[in-house]
């Protein structure tokens, strides 16, 4: 149509340009997608020739296809796993490197020279370049020591077994200490561990002189300070590490000595005080025992595992997958972890007990082991690999007495999960069961959530807190009376006190949480020439809470009745906070009442509980607890007296709307009846960033309009407070009386607006203002914008009669926009309103997310509705997480989703109301693949919109999406870093301040004329009076206020209309005082003179050729003129322009 019109002009002006013009837009169209797809390959529908598809299948191929069909959701998963395995297994080249380095190290170690015998505590034989990797507490111990070449050097652990995988390739090398260095009684009083440390130091001293070793550091096995190891890397590469363990000769100690009930550290020796305790009354030292015993058995374990794995061809692959799974969940490293060794042992257990068969694939091994973990509680029913334990081996019950988690090795003496806390095992179980759930769900991309998505604690747990000064835990040991446990852990007070803290918190938080997790202390590493770091030197302990949203925020902790025997227990737990209370049902019970008025304060009740309990029972002052639960919430906080993140205000708006809706239904005297009243505004689904507040107006601040006596902004005064109209769609009954013509329908709608306004005025005394498009109702300090809708109107807009008199139905933008406003938006609003009822923090997450988008100037690219949908997807399809339970974690996951989702190759399916089935998912995916290039770059499918992604049709563009992704990734990094590390500068607003240096022109606005100034990320110190007074708000009546008058958005609209094809305009709608302008890259290419493309351009004549370029000076001048009174200054950063 447009084409036709311009041609007429073209003939008149210059026919020579005609051809060019015909070509130019076509070219542009063609080049655009091509350019966008450049660089990376894209998925195109496969085209197989007929011959390929229909050639007769071979038996092998048939089997393969059938297997893929029946075993997996699709062959994709199988292939994905195979690819993943390729990524983590070691290459042949790497193996050769390792082998040759091991060879070198072994020969070196064999040649360790002897040294004269000295007392254990005498360290004079060591040079100053090497320190002993041990914290000698207490200082003295008996015994003699001398260096001697090792009895043998063997490979142990994952490398010889073939389960070693990338990254962090660790090759374990066991060096057997010769028998004459040790004494059979060395197991007592840390003599053996000390000798072992000395032996390692001796090895290190010898190896420092060798040039074949790159770096040499100490570490300790699983954070256990009694088991130091020596880390060696080759000089040329650091891609793998050799871990040297020093071990006693096999069978040197009798395993029965290390029974979990036996004592091997004497109190007298440990405390240095004379006590009259006999050996039998000494406290058992199960952890110490198992740490010594662990050194005796690695070779036996290797033999056992080799035997098992040789039976099962997929064993190594299964372990590799399990290790990847564990690593993504941060469970495979640190003290008390579930490491690769335990993973192998678990598979071995399942194989030996015939729960899985030897012929299964790696995929099945992973699935079965997760299933086993999810269904078996090792904290209650331990498992044992011992087939026929000898009579001296302890029983399962004895193990359970000594340890929290029990998994016994083939010898029957060692608990391999000795250091694991019950909480870690519960976390493992939780992860396994969550994984099983979404694995079975065909609508989830199982592979990705299972093995590819990392789950760091800050993004997994709803609330996180850290204990900062770990030194303070020493006093908790004292307070909790843990001397014997401290002895057992040989002075590591952190690990001693941890299980007690965990059980205390578990008791205190009770029903409020699903799960309490804690970070696993990473293995310390230090160079051989420095002393072993102190226990307090480790990073702060982090704890994660997975909240139960319906109970977590309750301010009341109701205890047992005052006279019941449990009351004492309750009082003991809560101390002075517990008080007797009488409830409405007449019961008098013990209870604890926490502070919290608004939702955002109530969400922090767990913080109060934790601080209180730690102070009361463990002597940990509140200053040591760094609670990361609501740090990001600040940016959406409003309210002067009670700080609030908008839940209460939203509720007020919704209540007011409900009241209005009821009144609308009850109206009498309308020619047609109302069939539906629907909200269509973010405030009505709790997701408006700053929900509208009921306002009371100061009339003297305004001018009056002459006819209707409505308020009008006064020139020269600051812009009045912005009043958001809350859109409400009012559907009218269909009837033959409705005309069948677009203009007539519009007029009838206007008549309805007028009539509704009259009725509301008469019945309820609401001030109303009818317009052709809507009716504004001023009700209780809020403005509702009622739009009457007629369900057949979009249809009428689509119909037209063509030249032959045929009635054709053609989709057009007008009809789409109308459907969007009257059908899709209300539907989305009510659906998301439902989601909010299900997940109380949905709204808060949306608000945070939209605040971030707006602050980063993206609110025009990712619209409110699409942002809400993205957040909804976090709640509806949380795999591999659980639905977010706090605004902060939701926000972090949103940033992660935005930055890590593969927008190019995947549609994001938001399964609202669970309406989509697996078949629908496939259909959506196939449709998407088939026409990827013509679809929006950010494709969001919903049950009502499977094919077009209507919410993201207009925006964002490829370039903008790229930028959003980049900024999201950066924000996530900065934010997580800040939240997890207390030593960083604590200012979460950093992620809300956009980098302005990329823009070409900055238009600074006069803060006086920016009505939402107080909502800015960094609110100004001074604000202007905006015609609002405090006091109670009248429910009805009063003059109509200034509605929807925002100079900034009016200005932006004008700018975009005038210069939209030359530049992009960005602004933070919530109190931003700067408009950032970015020239479009193509705007400054000089173009031939065309009547349709001369807007804001000046001409350049060279001979007969006329070219046009943008008239920049005039444009900058226009920015100033069009924003007269609003614009403070226009800052053109000409130095950046490159044209």
């Amino acid at each position: 149509m447009k084409k036709k019109l311009t041609v007429a002009e073209m003939i008149a002006s210059d026919s020579s340009h005609e051809e060019e013009e015909d070509e130019a837009p076509l070219k542009a169209k063609r080049s655009k997608p091509g350019e966008a797809e450049e660089g990376e390959p894209v998925c195109r529908p496969v085209k197989l020739s007929r011959n390929d598809l229909y050639r007769p299948p071979t038996v092998e191929e048939l089997n393969q296809l059938k297997e893929a069909e029946s075993l997996f959701h699709c062959s994709l998963l199988k292939m994905q796993m195979e690819e993943l395995l390729k990524e983590v297994t070691l290459s042949e080249r790497r193996k050769q490197q390792i082998d040759s380095f091991i060879q070198t190290v072994t020969t070196l170690l064999q040649a360790v020279p002897d040294s004269p015998e000295v007392e254990v505590s005498d360290l004079s034989w060591l040079s100053s370049a090497v320190k002993i990797p041990f914290l000698p507490v207490p200082k003295t111990t008996k015994g003699k020591f001398h260096m001697a070449p090792p009895a043998s050097v063997d490979l142990i652990g994952s490398y010889p077994l073939g389960t070693c995988s990338k990254p962090r390739i660790m090759v374990d090398l066991a060096v057997t200490i010769p028998a004459d260095v040790l004494h059979p009684k060395d197991a007592v009083n840390q003599r053996y561990p000390r000798k072992r440390a000395l032996y390692l130091a001796g090895l290190a001293q010898y190896l420092t002189s060798s040039s074949d070793i790159g770096t040499m550091r100490y570490s300790c096995l699983h954070g256990n300070r009694l088991r130091p190891v020596l880390l060696l890397t080759p000089p040329d590469t650091s891609s793998f590490t050799v871990r040297v363990h020093a071990c006693p000769p096999p069978g040197f100690f009798k395993p029965s000595r290390f029974h979990p009930q036996r004592n091997n550290i004497r109190t007298e020796w440990y405390t240095g005080l004379q006590t009259s305790q006999s050996e039998s009354s000494e406290p058992p030292t199960p952890h110490y025992n198992s740490s010594v015993l662990g050194d005796l058995l690695p070779r036996a374990h290797l033999q056992f595992l080799s035997a098992v794995s040789s039976q099962c061809p997929a064993f190594a692959d299964g372990v590799a997958l399990l290790k990847v799974w564990l690593r993504q969940r941060e469970l495979d490293q640190g003290t008390g972890c579930f490491n690769g060794f335990l993973a192998s042992m678990l598979l071995a257990y399942l194989l030996t007990t015939h729960r899985i068969s030897n012929t299964m694939t790696a995929y099945q091994l992973l699935r079965n082991s997760l299933n086993f973990l999810a269904s078996t509680d090792l904290t209650v029913n331990g498992i044992s690999l011992a087939k026929d334990p000898d009579s001296t081996a302890p029983s399962l019950a004895e193990f359970h007495n000594g340890f929290q988690v029990v998994f016994i090795d083939p010898s029957g003496h060692l608990n391999m999960c000795a250091d694991m806390t019950a909480c870690t095992y519960k976390q493992l179980q939780h992860e396994a069961s969550v994984s099983m759930q979404f694995w079975d769900n065909p609508t989830v991309d199982g592979f990705h959530s299972l093995l590819m998505t990392p789950k760091p604690m800050i993004r997994t747990s709803d609330h996180v807190f850290q204990l900062c000064e770990l030194v303070k835990l020493q006093s908790s040991c004292k307070k909790l009376n843990l001397l014997s446990e401290l002895m057992d852990h040989s002075g590591n007070y952190v690990h001693t006190v941890l299980p007690f803290l965990l059980s205390l918190l578990q008791r205190g938080l009770g029903q409020r949480i699903h799960l309490l997790t804690h970070s696993l202390t990473p293995d310390p590493e230090w160079s051989v020439d420095s002393e072993a770091p102190k226990h307090k030197a480790q990073p702060p302990l982090s704890f994660g809470l997975l909240l139960r949203p319906e109970l977590a925020a309750s301010v009341l902790e109701r205890g047992p009745p005052a006279d019941s025997p449990k009351a004492a227990e309750f009082r003991q737990l809560w101390g002075p906070r517990s008080e007797l209370r009488r409830f409405q049902d007449g019961a008098i019970t013990e209870a604890v009442l926490w502070d919290g008025e608004s939702m955002c304060q109530k969400r922090l009740v767990p913080k109060q509980i934790i601080a209180h309990l730690l102070q009361l029972h463990a002597d940990i002052p509140e200053s040591c607890v760094r609670y990361v639960g609501a740090m990001v919430d600040d940016v959406i906080k409003t309210g002067s007296e009670v700080s609030s993140t908008g839940e209460e205000e939203s509720l007020l708006v919704v209540q007011s709307y409900d009241d209005l809706s009821r009144k609308l239904w009850r109206l009498e005297g309308l020619p047609l009846s109302i069939t539906a009243v629907q909200g269509a505004h973010p405030a009505l689904r709790y997701t408006q960033v700053f929900p509208p507040l009921p306002l009371k107006l100061d009339y003297s601040f305004f001018e009056r309009e002459k006819i209707s006596r409505s308020l009008v902004p006064k020139e020269g005064k600051p812009c009045p407070a912005y009043i958001t109209p809350i859109t409400v769609i009012c559907h009218m009954e269909g009837s033959g009386k409705w005309p069948h013509d677009r203009l007539a329908i519009r007029h009838i709608r206007t008549a309805f607006h007028i009539r509704l306004g009259e009725l509301l005025k008469n019945d309820h005394n609401y001030t109303c203002r009818p317009c052709p498009t809507h009716l504004d109702v001023w009700k209780g300090g809020l403005v509702f914008r009622i739009q009457v809708a007629y369900h057949r109107e979009p249809q009428v807009l689509r119909e037209s009669v063509n030249a032959e008199g045929l009635l054709v139905v053609r989709d057009n933008e007008e009809a789409q926009a109308l459907e969007m406003a009257t059908i899709h938006k209300p539907l989305l609003t009510s659906t998301l309103h439902g989601l909010q009822q299900e997940h109380p923090c949905f709204g808060a997450v949306c608000r945070l997310v939209k605040r971030w988008l707006a602050a980063q100037l993206f609110s025009d690219d990712i619209t409110e509705d699409s942002a809400d949908l993205l957040v909804a997807s976090l709640f509806l399809q949380p795999a591999p997480f659980t639905p977010p339970g706090s605004p902060q974690v939701g926000f972090l996951r949103f940033l992660h989703l935005l930055s890590s989702f593969d927008w190019r190759n995947n549609p994001l399916v938001v399964n609202l109301n669970n309406q989509l089935t697996a078949a629908d998912y496939t259909e959506i995916k196939n449709d998407f693949m088939a026409s990827r290039e013509s679809l929006p770059v950010m494709f969001i499918a919903t049950p009502k919109d499977k094919k077009v992604s209507m919410w993201t049709k207009r925006a964002p563009s490829v370039q903008m999406l790229q930028r959003v992704v980049m900024v999201a990734a950066e924000s996530l990094k900065v934010l997580e870093h800040q939240l997890m590390d207390g030593s960083q500068i604590q200012d979460v607003r950093v992620v809300m301040r956009p980098p302005l240096d990329v823009y070409d022109v900055l238009i600074h606005l006069n803060p006086k004329q920016v009505p939402l100034l107080s909502q800015a990320v960094d609110p100004p110190a001074v604000n202007f009076s905006r015609g609002v007074t405090t006091g109670s708000v009248a429910q009805s009546g009063g003059a109509l206020p200034v509605i929807d008058y925002n100079p900034v958005s009016l200005y932006l609209t004008e700018l975009r209309e005038a210069f939209g094809d030359l530049a992009l305009f960005f602004c933070d709608p919530y109190g931003g005082t700067v408009i950032a302008v970015l020239w479009k890259p193509k705007a400054f290419i000089s173009m031939p003179f065309k009547t349709s493309q001369v807007s804001a351009r000046s001409v350049e004549v060279t001979g007969e050729e006329v070219k046009t370029v943008p008239n920049v000076e005039a444009i900058l001048e226009d920015f100033r003129i069009m924003g007269e009174g609003l614009v403070k200054s226009v800052e053109a950063r000409t130095e950046k322009w490159s044209f």
Binding site: A8, S13, C43, L48, L84, A744, A751, L807, R1097, V1106
Partner: protein, 282 residues
């Protein structure tokens, strides 16, 4: 930025190839920068409507957004008295809009750069405009003729958007009366047409499409489609499936082909992901 010619002949009109004369336009007398407005007599091969007489209409390009019709009229009245001004977003032939609408019902105007058709009373004004010297700019906002922009304009706009409900009701009523009348006329016309198809004196009937009274097929695209589909379905029902051996074999073959195709697709997807290094778990 200005064309090179200008420097030599400063008080001359600046005419660029293509026949346009370049006029400068600035917002206020002290503005630093100027917009270039391009004018030319309106000339098309077939101008049907009488709204733009060929000899008296000036075609103006690149009118800045703050120039309303009234402002443009004022600006160009220095070349002769102006009969009418028409501002549009794009150049194009005159469009007859439907029934006259009150300003409250018209769709919101786009406030970008405009194209103008200015009809003068006399054809001499055209020449005057075209020979206007380039270095004498047209000034939009002077003291006698202030043009409001920015906050002032928005406040004015806001104030003007008010209309009393009884006035609005009047507009609606008059439109609907008009509409009803048109509807009636339409009905009348159709009835007349129908009458024409009655038997004339000699017993002849003029047969046309859509005879009133006969049950003709509904004349719309959707109906056409529906009939087509019905036919298709009928055809399909008559077909026999899996009846002959070859048919059975064919379905099996199709199944394998399907699996194969899926397999290939997956393989391709994997290859793609591998190329993007999507299998590195960390």
């Amino acid at each position: 930025m200005a064309p090179a010619k200008k420097k030599h002949a400063s008080s001359q009109p600046c005419i660029i190839p293509g026949g346009f004369t370049v006029l400068s336009l600035q917002f206020s007398p002290d503005s630093a920068a100027q917009h270039k407005v391009y004018v030319k007599e309106h000339r098309v091969r077939a101008e049907k409507s009488s709204h733009r007489p060929l000899d008296r209409t000036l075609f103006v390009l690149n009118i800045p957004p703050y120039c309303s019709e009234a402002v443009v009229r004022e600006l160009f009245s220095q070349f002769g008295s102006v009969q009418s001004v028409e501002l549009r977003d794009h150049p194009g032939s005159f469009q007859e809009s439907g029934p006259k609408l009150s300003k409250f019902f018209r769709p919101a105007e786009k406030k970008g750069f405009k194209v103008g058709y200015i009809v003068f009373h006399g054809s001499s004004s055209l020449t005057a405009a075209k020979s206007h010297p380039h270095n004498v700019p047209l000034v939009v906002c002077t003291e006698q003729r202030p043009v409001r922009t920015g906050v002032q304009k928005w406040i004015q706009q806001y104030t003007e958007s008010f209309i009393q409900s009884d006035k609005l009701q009047q507009i609606v009523d008059s439109f609907m009366k008009d509409y009803d009348k048109r509807k009636e006329e339409e009905a009348e016309r159709q009835k007349k047409e129908a009458e024409q198809q009655q038997e004339d004196e000699e017993g002849w009937v003029k047969v046309t499409r859509g005879h009133k009274g006969t049950k003709a097929r509904p004349h719309s695209e959707a109906a056409n489609q529906r009939t087509l589909q019905k036919e298709m379905r009928k055809k399909k029902r008559k077909e026999l499936m899996n009846f002959y051996t070859w048919q059975h074999r064919n379905t099996q073959k199709e199944h394998i082909a399907e699996l194969r195709k899926k397999f290939e697709e997956d393989k391709q997807r994997i290859a793609l992901l591998r190329a993007q290094r999507k299998f590195r778990p960390y």
